[in-house]
Symmetry: D2
Subunit: 362 residues, 4 copies
């Protein structure tokens, strides 16, 4: 199932060491001016080789838009696109052809499909997320037209946590450092941790936080298309994600209703997208429908499975062996995952926005 | 969007104070013997009025299966069903007709649709989950045929946590107490907390844990239909759920790859559903596909929004008012949510099982 | 697959001799006043036992709406409904339990599913179309709000053809005779033919024509959701339908472009829904999108398979046998199929209408 | 809606004068050997410039497969592909920028989307069908593994009809002449007619017939996914198609049940795919499910709208004007549509085959 969305839909394809990553974006609203440069910019945020924190693979990641845009505007027809793979070192993976990396998709892909493209992880590679970033960058340009903006940032790496809320952060500074945490002090500590981990040939997990501002009341389609269920499905489909929560999430489970309830502002004169409720434990969604307050969520990433030191493993015959991956891998996916989380949020929000347009006969 | 699933699909309908809750279950495998009693038993686990911990609403919740079963077996045609509502006290809700409860779906439903059935929460009532429990009970009977079993239990209420893992618990004892925690000691403390909270007219959140055993290798459809994304979407669609994680989840974000990776058993002679890996930080899913190990997950519930004491609120004109709900409400949804979590897990797993049957030409 | 539609969706269930026929209608626009009487009226048009031309089965076919409507208006939540079966004579079918009727679904259902509910044709019975008529009656009430109307009529029975076009007919007179052909003279001849056929214990096929008026420009979703592909899929899903065409259809295949092209009115001052083009060979759809002209289509029905005289057949072991159905069957489905064709057209048009609302960001 | 299918799904993109036509094929069964040459061969059958009967546009139509195949076999991951456009003469269309061709998609696209890529018809061009042919060629290679074969041919051009049934024709000779009618004598007459029509700058319609052999019993998903409804939807989505019928189709509407019913062979010893019934009025499908007999169907094509002589028309302001298209156009689409019809049949049949695999728990 390589299609995501209901109305605004991304269908993606591509393997890490195949010819290209690409996809088709369907259901794009017509008449929207699209900046190719803005798409390319998002791809650059996701690109490998940005800093010492990321894999050394060199990829220009140049997107070629093949259809659906005419004289700079969307025509309402599907946008096909490809990003060529360039810097494959497929021979780096020769020793992994018949061996499964622990906690990797190697074993499960092989057993599900009966064969696999082992080079660079094949379809299970995070390189697949290029397609999401392209679609997300287009969705984002549509959402701008209706005043919805999305920010994500690295909130935690290992046990280093940026405890500031989005109110307290300057979200324009997410890209100011390599780790993509807008709190410079926390970012510095995260960066040191990642470099330490990298020096050990090890990897580390973390948490990305996000906030969606400017969302009107009414998005989300209960009971199975609740807005947070759509967002959760989007985030959980990203490689290495192990958990999703919104609003107070797991922490809210410890609270009483009298503590957790968001009281309405005594006079709801202000636009709901700013000040409907005094607090926002709900994270901007009630009953699966946006209430106009900022939508807040968190996404947990496990540490990357591929270590750069020897690990015991098994081969396709179930025999014990050892494995020392070569290849090029991120010690921590968080910095590069920030634009991916934003992309999936944008795709989901635009889809929800368009779905909501069918609630009434216009 | 009131349909869940791809092949095995539940489409549900019904309001809290309408004539009935019901649905259509499509894509049911043909030739499976179905016990109506087993369905009824699951409904009884979900039913209000079971104990002092739950709402006092009295409902027999008798399911009437209307189609799709002939001489005790599924025919492959859709199973329609209804459960009549009986004990509505709609007048209890008269005072909520034009007032929105804080942190409830009242405000968002009204603003999305332009009108709402205010009685008992209408479609946003947890009474909707009856349809899930019926479909789940049918899915579960199918899954039994292929050796897949599902257990969920109350792991946390407020800040009282049952720290034992599923290995250390006797999962046959989940229903042994009203709170549905198989650790009797923790259950007793949870129960006391719920009664305290109830005495205050307040509510409390918590966490339900689950484990799926006997799942073969290969279920899940990357990249957007990853097994945990399907499970996450299922759980997040349940009322009051604020978070989902599987395997080590958010806690795994603090680990290094060398700590988090699940090494393969040195000799993989044993069936993968028992002992593929030494540890199970992955929670039975790698790359979005089941690896044969038990699938573990956790679901966070916020405290119920409807308190039984006065709260400040607003009415449909945005004017400040106060609200003292009457109606009948659970101080804590966890005990009754256990069968709902199991039902959604069963629906998801059967759907994934059937989808996987299309991976190869047979 | 018992769900039809994309946004406005019918999911149906029910067997001929089961407890009930019913369904769930999802994606209903909110705030639409619904007349239950109008739904019941459509069901009465489809009901058996209306005249000497139809099966003698007696069914009140009373619809019970179970959800989704509050104080007479749709709430945007799904409408569940059931119609109880009453007058089953299941024992009439005892002799068909292990025998397959020629050209009937008996053989294929049995072989697909491995078992079947043989009573009254089970799920393959045209009684299933009750659910379509209910959904269609609701769709029609929505379409009225936007000025779209739908008429179908019996255009041909056997080789008796009503050659008048919809312009030449008074479509308010469709129900003026039992055969539902608004040309009284042709209707009389059709009626005689049906009675002759019935007297022989035989059955006869025919053609239903339809016209959709008031459709705005722009409905239809190329390239796979072309409006006529949606309509064709809708019609071909009705029992006994063997063909679908729109505009000039098969006859247009003999024409030259210079004959078939619909020239634009020289001055397109008039609203397109009335007079965009001089002719309408296209049948109101160009490139899969409505052009504002009336949409015209035709649907071919084969003769009913169940004859009331002895036929040679085989049993479930492949052995030759003979079969004399008892049961109650229509000699010609056309009269009762008119409201079904209208219902499927209404469901499709409303779905297309709502889908089109997502073409632009509003 | 640019996705077709349920399990085996094609999502396509591309405009006539854009950079490329392409798509993503998802749900491909794993482990199937794929011949790129066989795909290329089908594209060559569809390619413009094959003969004097077709448009003069010169396109190599070389397919580039970008993913989903590893060492010659499908991996179960999506197959992305592109076919570059080369021989665009976009300036030929400058005079059509603001003018609508009669009976063309120009007017409807412009009004639906508010803008359009007018060059070569943009998305409404039949060049879009390249993606179908690629997916169909892959589907066909899968179907070969299970013994299902598909043939289509030009049965009628204008009023010249090849009256022979598929039994009487040598279907290996479809490509023996430019018109793709395996009856050499009829083909010669059709060819003359097309050349006459072309000489007049005119166009002509026709009918393509098809037969699917080797289909097992059981494919098709009632009630809305009936096999013929899936096939009909597939065919009606092809440019210029105005009608679809299967079995006896519209002609069967004139028959009595006693004439139309297909009696079972007295001894059903033979495999159903050869000799289940004595006749085959049903066209291999009963109750929406294949019965093992050959599946027969017919598809009506209208004459191409773009004439090469002056026609009166209107511009985007509704003003009368005249139009003399330049561009390059087929006088008759039938010859090139044969591989497209086969492709859509193959896509549909593979999808139905895979769906049927979910009918039982395996």
């Amino acid at each position: 199932m390589n299609t995501f969305g209901n109305i605004f839909r991304l269908t993606s394809f591509g393997e890490s060491h195949g010819a290209a990553i690409g996809g088709v974006i369907d259901g794009v609203p017509a008449g929207i001016a699209i900046s190719e440069e803005a798409i390319q910019q998002e791809l650059s945020r996701r690109r490998p080789g940005q800093s010492a924190l990321t894999t050394a693979r060199k990829e220009a990641d140049h997107v070629e838009l093949l259809s659906g845009i005419f004289e700079g505007k969307t025509t309402g027809t599907p946008i096909g696109f490809i990003v060529r793979n360039a810097d494959q070192h497929s021979s780096d993976y020769d020793n992994m052809r018949d061996v499964f990396r622990p906690s990797h998709a190697d074993y499960t892909y092989y057993n599900k499909y009966g064969l696999r493209d082992h080079r660079g992880g094949g379809r299970s590679s995070a390189r697949e997320t290029i397609a999401r970033v392209v679609a997300g960058a287009i969705a984002r340009q549509c959402l701008e037209q209706v005043g919805i903006s999305i920010h994500a940032w690295t909130q935690q790496v290992g046990d280093i946590v940026c405890t500031k809320t989005w109110h307290e952060l300057d979200l324009t500074q997410v890209d100011a450092n390599a780790v993509r945490c807008p709190d410079a002090e926390a970012a510095a500590r995260m960066e040191r941790l990642i470099l330490d981990v990298k020096a050990d040939g090890d990897t580390i997990g973390g948490v990305i936080a996000g906030v969606i501002q400017g969302c009107p009341v009414g998005l989300g389609e209960p009971v199975f298309g609740k807005l947070h269920a759509m967002l959760g499905s989007a985030m959980l489909s990203i490689n290495a994600v192990k958990g999703f929560e919104y609003g107070d999430g797991f922490a809210g489970a410890t609270l009483r209703g009298s503590q957790h309830n968001d009281l309405f502002q005594s006079a709801v004169a202000a636009a709901p997208t700013q000040a409907l409720t005094v607090t926002n434990h709900s994270g901007g969604i009630q009953g699966g429908i946006s209430n106009g307050m900022p939508i807040t969520f968190r996404v947990a990433f496990k540490p990357v499975a591929t270590l750069l030191h020897e690990q015991p493993s098994i081969d396709i015959n179930g025999k014990a062996t050892t494995l020392t991956p070569r290849g090029r891998h991120d010690p921590c996916v968080l910095p590069r995952a920030v634009p991916i989380v934003e992309a999936m949020a944008a795709i989901t929000m635009l889809d929800a926005y368009l779905l909501h347009q069918t609630t009434h006969l216009l």
